[in-house]
């Protein structure tokens, strides 16, 4: 496999994305090798030689059917393999009691936690700049908003990317599988400060996370 190529995956659905990536990589890679080999072979075999005339043919219907149907089948199969993973990531929100709002603005991620009451817009809400803290092994629901232009929350290690669009609240989720500190760059051009607009995702062990919550909401 090519895991040295992709960043380390620390999410529950990342392996499904990586599987599709590698599947397409091998299919397209094999196709490229075959086409390139045929191309080079033909160029060598059929280079101009004195006394030999080119074969006179206008085509072959059987071949046309074969090289229309075979790629179509492969691509339709890839479609049917892609859709369930897509549905799982973007359309099926797992049940969770941890919801975090990320309100993007030029050039920061404003992260809001609802606090112990679990409701946004109340007094115990707490806001952080460019820091998301989550426990490992628990689905986290994100609500993405933007105050100005379009931004895109990208967590390469979690195979997560979702645009934040002003005027909309876009739900998304992830479930981290390994504690650590992971970068959150902005992936959509958002102005002169686009480069360098980034935050950090802190994935804690359950104990560490409980401690962090206690520090933020001491009562």
């Amino acid at each position: 496999m090519l895991n040295w190529w992709l960043p380390e995956d620390v999410s529950t659905y990342g392996k499904d994305i990586d599987f599709l990536f590698h599947l397409i990589y091998y299919i397209t890679g094999a196709t490229f090798v075959l086409v390139a080999a045929a191309l080079i072979a033909f160029l060598v075999l059929y280079r101009r030689k004195e006394g030999r005339r080119a074969t006179y043919t206008h085509g072959n219907t059987t071949l046309e059917i074969v090289w229309t149907v075979v790629p179509t089948l492969i691509l339709v199969v890839l479609t049917f393999l892609s859709v369930p993973t897509w549905a799982r990531i973007k359309m099926q929100m797992p049940k969770t009691d941890l919801t975090v709002q990320v309100n993007a603005k030029q050039f920061n991620w404003i992260v809001t936690y609802p606090g112990p009451d679990g409701k946004f817009g109340t007094e115990d809400d707490k806001t952080f700049d460019n820091e998301i803290h989550v426990p490992v092994g628990k689905p986290v629901k994100l609500i993405l908003k933007s105050q100005d232009v379009i931004h895109s929350l990208f967590m390469p290690n979690l195979r997560f990317k979702q645009d934040a669009v002003p005027g909309r609240e876009i739900p998304a989720w992830f479930d981290a599988t390994k504690p650590g500190k992971y970068e959150i760059p902005c992936a959509e051009l958002c102005g002169f400060g686009h480069s360098g607009m980034r935050g950090w995702l802190f994935v804690h062990t359950p104990e560490e996370y409980a401690q962090w919550v206690k520090q933020q909401w001491p009562s």
């Binding site: 190529w5 059929y46 080119a54 206008h58 100005d148 990208f154 669009v165």
Partner: protein, 581 residues
């Protein structure tokens, strides 16, 4: 001004000698307009290329002074500031797409090839044709003017996503973005005029015997391109007008504060933008389909499959645009429909590739410079096409969207595809266009240096993209997860610089041959299509007294029973020879 000379007196067309202005500036001759579009495109390519070099400097050695640029960037002593960097990539793409590839492929070779290859004396509407070029030139001037206004040129990406592009304070650009909109609106008018002209000419002006299925594939490709231009450009024009209104008149088409919708811009832009990709690549497909049979000395393999695959691209290109918006916030259920259509649009491209291979099979291949460029087109287009499949798969797209994988893909399609196609066309039709041959050894030197450095410059971008490097970032070294990938950026930049330098061979060859190249015979490549039955360069109205009559399809090479290995369309095939069409 008119004084007939001996040379023009021998041309029996019903015309009189035109003055300098009518011949070289406000010409209605499709061949002169073709040359004008070519020079416009090549001039803009130099500017777009220089912008690319500056982008590459910044990405390899971020925030270090660009050698020799201290006089221009006085405040930063030669360091490119981030807002300038955003302007560089915005304008690099804008110029290359709208003012290099479209003028050269659709503008120049559309104008040059269509009348000459269907046996017409000129376009259906010669004066409209002239207006189309000059409208395009005005659009070019407006676009370049943006570099000189306060606040700099447009800096919201060539895709100009609203609201970033819609509110001046978000980018700091003021009239730059406005001129960007105005220029594209003007260019849209130019494209419309050209498209109407091409379509009318192909439908109405074909020579006797030139049935639709005897048309050369490059004419088919330009015809289909014209249909896409006619239907796609008005969408961009409308979107650019709405964006301009948001910026200047206080409307809120794309601004949620006033009830507008940012995604509306993306829907409009990509509804234009995806057909646009095929506007850029279809003519190059046609050019490759034209050149491969000539130098393989073989009929094209699967002529009808080639035509039908282009027609299916023409249709499908309207219903795939959503794959640009998988993570935009568009309803994910809509995304599913676009997965299927996007996967399926790869099929016509696969069919074309296999037919190009079939054309080479059993050929008698001559490696001329146009042939080498056409072969590079096939090889590079295969890479660009295959990398597109990654984006079609929505889950994979979540990761690679907005990374250098996309940048690699687009450059394999529009440089590896369209630009190699453009070079192939220039090397192939230069003798007909200017009446002189290009220098072959210099052409081959240009080809090999370009081909190698191109791959050094663009292939590693796939690796950066898979590593997660975002596109349009000013400084990749700001990110921890990209630290160990930075050496690829340095390598890419050296490749890009070498690629830029390799183009000097082309410039020397082009201008030297223009004035001092060997005089071109009427049919230097022993080709079969109609343009090679006119003098090099063809006179005004192309043929003398009579336009040619067409007896068979365009690719009758190595016909059994014919002594030569090519049978021009103007010459009937001998009875008993394997006739086709």
């Amino acid at each position: 001004m008119s004084h007939p000379t001996a040379a023009t007196a021998t041309v029996h067309g019903a015309h009189h000698e035109l003055g300098f202005v009518r011949t070289y500036i406000f010409s209605t001759d499709h061949k002169m307009i073709a040359r004008q579009f070519l020079f416009l495109g090549l001039f803009m390519m130099v500017i777009g290329g220089i912008l690319a070099m500056l982008i590459r400097w910044q990405l390899a050695w971020p925030e270090t002074p660009v050698p020799g640029l201290g006089w221009l960037l006085t405040e930063t002593e030669g360091i490119i500031p981030p807002e300038t960097y955003n302007m560089l990539f915005t304008m690099h793409a804008t110029l290359m797409i709208f003012f290099v590839i479209m003028p050269i492929l659709a503008g120049s070779f559309g104008n040059f090839c269509i009348p000459l290859m269907i046996g017409a004396r000129d376009m259906a509407f010669p004066r409209l044709n002239m207006i189309s070029f000059w409208t395009g030139a005005v659009a070019g001037v407006l676009m370049l003017a943006g570099f000189f206004v306060k606040g700099g040129h447009a800096a919201a990406g060539w895709t100009s996503y609203a609201p970033l592009s819609a509110v001046p304070t978000y980018t700091g650009t003021d009239w730059g973005q406005n001129l960007w909109c105005i220029s594209l609106i003007v260019l849209g008018a130019s494209s419309m005029m050209g498209a109407i002209n091409y379509i009318t000419t192909v439908v109405n002006m074909r020579a006797p015997g030139m049935t639709l299925f005897r048309m050369p594939l490059v004419v088919w490709s330009l015809f289909i391109t014209a249909i896409l231009l006619l239907l796609a450009l008005p969408v961009l024009t409308s979107a650019a007008a709405l964006l301009l209104f948001d910026r200047t008149l206080g409307t809120h088409w794309f601004l949620p504060a006033g009830g507008g919708e940012p995604l509306l811009w993306q829907h409009l832009f990509w509804f234009f933008g995806h057909p646009e990709v095929y506007i850029l690549i279809l003519p190059a497909m046609g050019i490759a389909s034209e050149i491969l049979p000539v130098f393989a000395r073989k009929p094209i393999f699967g002529y009808r499959a080639m035509v039908y695959s282009m027609l299916s691209i023409c249709f499908l290109s309207w219903i795939v645009y959503g794959h640009h918006m998988f993570v935009s916030g568009m309803d994910p259920r809509v995304g599913i429909a676009f997965v299927l259509t996007t996967m399926v649009i790869a099929v016509p491209s696969a069919i074309k590739t296999f037919n190009w291979l079939g054309t080479l099979w059993g050929g008698s291949i001559l490696f001329t410079t146009p042939m080498l460029n056409a072969l590079a087109f096939v090889g590079m287009f295969v890479i660009g096409g295959l990398s597109g499949i990654f984006m079609a798969s929505t889950p994979v797209d979540i990761f690679i969207q907005d990374t250098y994988f996309i940048v690699a893909h687009i450059h394999y399609v529009v440089f590896g595809g369209s630009i190699f196609g453009a070079f192939a066309a220039i090397y192939y039709w230069f003798p007909k266009m200017f009446g002189r041959m290009l220098n072959e050894p210099l052409g081959k030197l240009h080809f090999w240096t370009t081909f190698i450095t191109y791959n050094v410059a663009f292939f590693p971008m796939h690796i950066l993209g898979v590593g997660g490097m975002m596109r349009r970032i000013y400084n990749p070294t700001q990110y921890e997860f990209l630290q160990n990938l930075q050496w690829w950026n340095v390598l890419i930049t050296w490749g890009a610089f070498a690629l830029g330098l390799a183009q000097i061979f082309f410039v020397i060859n082009f201008f030297w041959s223009l004035f001092a190249g060997r005089r071109a015979p009427m049919n230097p490549w022993n080709a079969t299509t109609l343009e090679w039955s006119a003098p090099s360069p063809p006179p005004h109205l192309n043929w003398g007294d009579r336009i040619p009559t067409v007896y068979h399809g365009p690719y009758e090479y190595s016909v059994p029973g014919v002594p030569e290995d090519f049978s021009p369309q103007t010459r009937p095939l001998p009875a008993g020879a394997a006739a086709h069409h």
